[in-house]
């Protein structure tokens, strides 16, 4: 139901000659997704907000040049990927990122794990695994982290990731394999 509504709105946005007219709807629809991806990639609230705003600003400025060879969502993610890459290469940001990695990690494991009738032991183990994945994802090289998050947080398929990152599908797959291996190693056989 939600998917059909989303694709309907996306179709409406696509079919409209002036994408700008539907820009507010576009922001409402995709802002949470872009923000989430930026936040998970950068792990910095201010940086994620800046990237999200820049992403929509660039999308607005370049809306006339949207070629429609991929979905609107993939196009926005493409812009976000480039902005995040630029932002993470910023020296000041790299310094703070290193500082954060050596400091106490963000406690994400406390969020969103539903009980679902699991035993306390299972739940504790799952939280531990989620924390390990979060930490492993933070230590992945930039490209591996990007494809990992696009695949396992944003639920994008290989073709969409290839379009968003500008990589070939095979390269995306290679990065995903490496990322998964690193994550499994970090899990240390608990999974």
């Amino acid at each position: 139901m939600e998917l059909s509504a989303t694709s309907e709105l996306e179709r409406a946005i696509r079919s409209d000659v002036a994408v700008v007219a539907n820009f507010e709807a576009l922001v409402r629809l995709y802002r949470p997704k872009v923000f989430r991806f930026a936040l998970a990639s950068l792990r910095d609230l201010d940086a994620a907000e800046t990237v999200t705003q820049d992403c929509f600003l660039r999308a607005y400025q370049a809306s006339s040049s949207f070629r429609r060879d991929c979905s609107m969502q993939t196009w926005l993610m493409q812009i976000a990927v480039n902005l995040i890459r630029d932002h993470s290469r910023n020296r000041r940001f790299q310094f703070w990122r290193r500082a954060r990695l050596t400091a106490k990690p963000v406690d994400v494991a406390g969020h969103g794990i539903a009980d679902q009738g699991r035993s306390p032991e299972t739940l504790a183990l799952l939280k531990e695994q989620v924390a390990a994945i979060w930490e492993a994802a933070g230590r992945l090289p930039e490209r591996q982290r990007t494809v990992f998050l696009l695949r396992f947080v944003e639920d994008m398929d290989l073709l969409e990731i290839a379009c968003a990152t500008g990589m070939k599908e095979g390269t995306v797959k290679t990065h995903l394999f490496r990322a998964l291996r690193a994550v499994r190693e970090r899990l240390g056989g608990t999974a």
């Binding site: 923000f35 989430r36 794990i113 396992f152 947080v153 999974a191």
Partner: protein, 140 residues
């Protein structure tokens, strides 16, 4: 070429399953091997939980950001609306302080001293340099 005779699946083969593109023999092996099946299910569950956690965390952070951003706006508007009152209060305090300083301390002391000096000068019948002579005259 992969050998289906492997005892358990290698990490790469498990990754293929995670990505949803396993070879047919891997799928067959999973049906027959409970250990590999359990390992795959646990890894899938952990990745699924990770997705839920990151999404939830992101929503919370977005909410927190909105709260943080709305707070300075409120304080800014409060400051703006009370700016005039604050300026008037400051001016009143300055005026009062000035009155207290000049009216309460300096003015009476200096004025009375001056007035005494004037009185002394006015009450003199002769210039101060001739006062000793006047004493002689009175004594005689």
């Amino acid at each position: 070429m992969r050998r289906p005779s492997l005892k358990h699946l290698a990490p790469e083969q498990l990754s293929e399953c995670i990505l949803g593109q396993p070879d047919p023999w891997i799928a067959r092996h999973l049906k027959e091997c409970p250990a590999c099946r359990t390992e795959l299910e646990q890894f899938r569950e952990a990745l699924f939980a990770f997705r839920g956690v990151v999404r939830d965390w992101s929503e919370n952070q977005a909410g927190a950001a909105l709260a943080v951003h709305s707070r300075p706006t409120q304080s800014r508007s409060w400051i703006a609306s009370h700016q005039l009152a604050f300026a008037l209060l400051l001016a009143a305090v300055c005026v009062l302080a000035s009155l207290v300083w000049h009216g309460g301390q300096k003015t009476p002391a200096s004025d009375s001293l001056l007035l005494n000096q004037v009185d002394a000068q006015v009450s003199r019948t002769v210039p101060s340099s001739m006062e000793p002579l006047m004493k002689l005259v009175v004594q005689e």
